[in-house]
Point group: C2
Chain length 275, copies 2
């Protein structure tokens, strides 16, 4: 709810977002889902920005989010065109204990990586991890990819439907710092080269399910709230309702994120590809 | 989700709930709301068990929860009749940091108060507060009141739509201990008199809202997660989006509960009284 309330506030009072060298437009990305306090109506909006969805012929039976992705592409893009917005800052919350996480597509997003560095240096006392979410060879699919460059903020933990003061203040400060960075860049400020620790996506692991697709176990107590902490081969990751533990069977240490995120309980949250 | 998954599990495997001297029936109280992962479909079920709702003539336009309350009254009651179930244990979760909270109607619920004492003694290392939720002169309105006696368990914090291992284990252990207590009672065990600290409801405070009913501020960072901690006159309770603080203006120290509970963001969650 941090992002939803901030967007609604800025739509009434946009002055806070303005800087001398550029203008900023607040957008509530999924107003239909916001109205019913859900992540989405038909499927996850933030996976619907592939060229297959954006160029599909409009059909009255299209999922709401596919239609909305096309609208946002008109507003912020068109994707990969010269007319597209210069930058999109995409604001998210999670029920997982991810603290402040900066979601970039890849390390090749140079402008976004410099922004990440700038945000980390603003509050060195707070962990502010960088997560690269694009798999090698994968097409960009997020709302950021409508613009020439972009970055996602993922703040948690916060329950769905709840507005926590700490995350609201943190998100507002991060947005202000990001706008200040763009202002510095536009003024010609030079940003030195740097080295940075990043996390990159390896794969996704679904909840254990029955054949019918219902939940068959829960995230193990030893893994709960351990986002960005090392998970070693053989450590428990789920406990089945039958009391059996499921262990991590990979060969190398990984650093799980989005642990027990509420939005991932549902199966098949992705929009079905158009015909 | 702790209570929902436990109920679904027990419906498949009811043996865990059985004791020699009595039988136990698991009931999923609001299956339509469970199916859409919400607290309710039309209005809060747990306020719909007043005699006005239970005796109202059935109408096709009735809210789902009013119809469901009448069904549960047939199953567990009828309320205040000799045929009613002896005991209802009503399992809940909250997004508030309430730890383990036992919800009894009043200190006159002698059986429930002895059960509270028994549960407190089972895990003396964990805070296990007793909250008396009925205001003086108020009619009983909860699902517990269908039975001759009852108790609610309120465990948190847990986001809506999430199943946390710690709360699942805790709720399952509390239910087992409650059934063991009833078994001891049925066998003729005597329970000595005791003194106990309880919290009782004084009043409810809604979120600050605009004239249109939209949220106009958030729970103050100094109050967030401070359930059952003393709130003194003059302390901040909300921060308006305009940055002004709202202070607690009462004359005596109180102990807030359900701080920033997700279900209370919506206005008018109560079922409208029947004509």
């Amino acid at each position: 709810m941090s992002a939803v309330y901030l967007a609604q506030y800025w739509l009434q009072a946009p002055g806070e977002l303005q800087r001398p060298s550029f203008s900023t437009v607040p957008v509530l990305a999924n107003p239909a889902a916001t109205a019913v306090c859900r992540l989405y109506v038909d499927c996850d909006l933030n996976c619907a920005f592939t060229s297959a969805f954006l160029t599909a012929r409009v059909h009255p039976d299209d999922p709401y989010e596919v239609t909305r992705a096309q609208e946002l592409n008109q507003l912020l893009g068109p994707k990969a065109s010269g007319q597209a917005f210069d930058f999109v800052l995409d604001l998210h919350n999670t029920t997982a204990s991810m603290g402040t996480c900066l979601m970039a597509e890849s390390a090749h997003s140079v402008f976004a990586m410099h922004l990440c560095r700038h945000l980390q240096l603003q509050s060195p006392e707070l962990p502010c991890r960088v997560f690269l979410h694009q798999l090698p060879g994968e097409e960009s699919y997020s709302v950021n990819s409508m613009a020439k460059s972009g970055l996602g903020l993922e703040l948690g933990p916060q329950p769905q439907g709840v507005l926590r003061a700490d995350l609201l203040v943190r998100m507002r400060a991060l947005v202000a710092a990001a706008l200040d960075f763009i202002q510095l860049f536009s003024q010609g400020t030079a940003f030195p080269a740097f080295e940075m620790e990043v996390y990159r996506k390896v794969s996704s692991v679904d909840f254990p399910r029955t054949e019918a697709g219902d939940l068959a176990g829960n995230v193990h107590s030893q893994l709960q709230d351990q986002d960005f902490e090392p998970l070693r081969p053989g450590a428990p990751i789920f406990r089945m309702f039958s009391s059996k533990d499921v262990l991590y069977e990979g060969e190398s240490t990984v650093y799980p994120v989005f642990i027990n995120e509420a939005a991932y309980y549902e199966k098949d949250i992705h929009c079905l590809p158009p015909d």
